[in-house]
């Protein structure tokens, strides 16, 4: 029995997590192919050979970064969906959690997830795609309900693509410390993208 349990929430990151974080940061800034394992190792003060004690291959690194990102955002949005029962508020909570996962502390991993999937082998691509489909199914579910209430266009697939496209694009331009925080950004985009939904909240009279 190894001591690798409960490694998800600890404050002191394991070596493996340090490597994943450094790799994600480099992959986001330079792309997967333009980043060498030597660069990743150097970032951590080790040599390239040592990396392969922790990971079987460079692609293995990429796959784990992506799976971690997808696991995080899926869990966050699923919880928002389960917590908020009423519909307009539930979708707002889902948008907030999506942007928080995308633009928050895991920005590197999430950006890599969005823009480096072509560097995966076909087999790994299928695995990641299956996880992404499961995530998108959460949205389809709640958007279907909204469509039945007449709150969104009945073409739910198109609504989902438009919504997630607008949200995901923010990873290309959003920079922490800008004029809008993530929470405020989520509200603004929600109002813009779901104009038929009135929230009965305090921002009803906002500009």
């Amino acid at each position: 029995m190894k001591k690798t349990a409960a490694d998800t929430q600890q404050a002191v990151p394991s070596r493996k997590e340090e490597i994943l974080a450094a790799a994600a940061s480099l992959f986001r800034r330079q792309g997967f192919e333009r980043t060498s394992v030597r660069e990743i190792a150097q970032e951590l003060g080790m040599t390239s050979g040592s990396l392969f004690y922790h990971f079987a291959s460079k692609e293995d690194l990429l796959v784990m970064i992506m799976e971690e990102g997808l696991r995080d955002i899926t869990q966050a949005v699923r919880q928002a969906q389960a917590t908020e029962k009423r519909l307009p508020e539930r979708l707002l909570a889902m948008v907030q959690q999506h942007l928080a996962a995308l633009l928050g502390p895991r920005l590197d991993a999430m950006t890599v997830l969005l823009y480096e999937w072509r560097s995966l082998s076909p087999e790994a691509q299928q695995r990641i795609l299956a996880l992404r489909d499961a995530y998108e199914a959460l949205w389809t579910e709640s958007l279907n309900e909204a469509a039945q209430l007449g709150l969104v266009d009945p073409d739910v697939a198109l609504v989902r693509q438009t919504l997630l496209g607008a949200l995901n694009w923010s990873a290309q331009w959003y920079r922490p410390g800008g004029r809008l925080g993530i929470h405020a950004l989520a509200e603004r985009m929600f109002v813009m993208l779901f104009p038929k939904m009135r929230l009965g909240l305090e921002q009803a009279a906002a500009a």
Copy 2:
């Protein structure tokens, strides 16, 4: 005086254009770094050395693909903007031209433009970024007018990012021959993203 003038609209593509098209197709499917010059040459029945008679470097290929894509979409949207004088119709025409340029015959080049810019050298990145800024300025201009008429949120930068994000994301999922043509897709997305705009057109009573 060489015979290279008026090469833009001809039906028979020059060798250079054939190379650019083959490269764009491979870059879109595999990414820039994962595509070798040998593959590009093979696609055209030549050997890798011959490519360098036409292009100085592999990056040169990428830059030309991107510049061509940006030139096309800028021209198309600028013409729509200049032709339609009235505002809601003008923005619809711009959305239609944006999607037509993005998803039409130049889909390969446009996708490469959107997703491979990190493979450019810093100098080339600046050049491309300047062209992209000029393109986005077209949108800022018309969206500013719309904001003054109360047709869109006054945060024009956010509106532009949201709009272009949703439109550009379609390159990830749209496939020609699907249930929606490009023209119809543009109308649907326009209505979804600009709900305050009523067009005075025939689709006023659509579902």
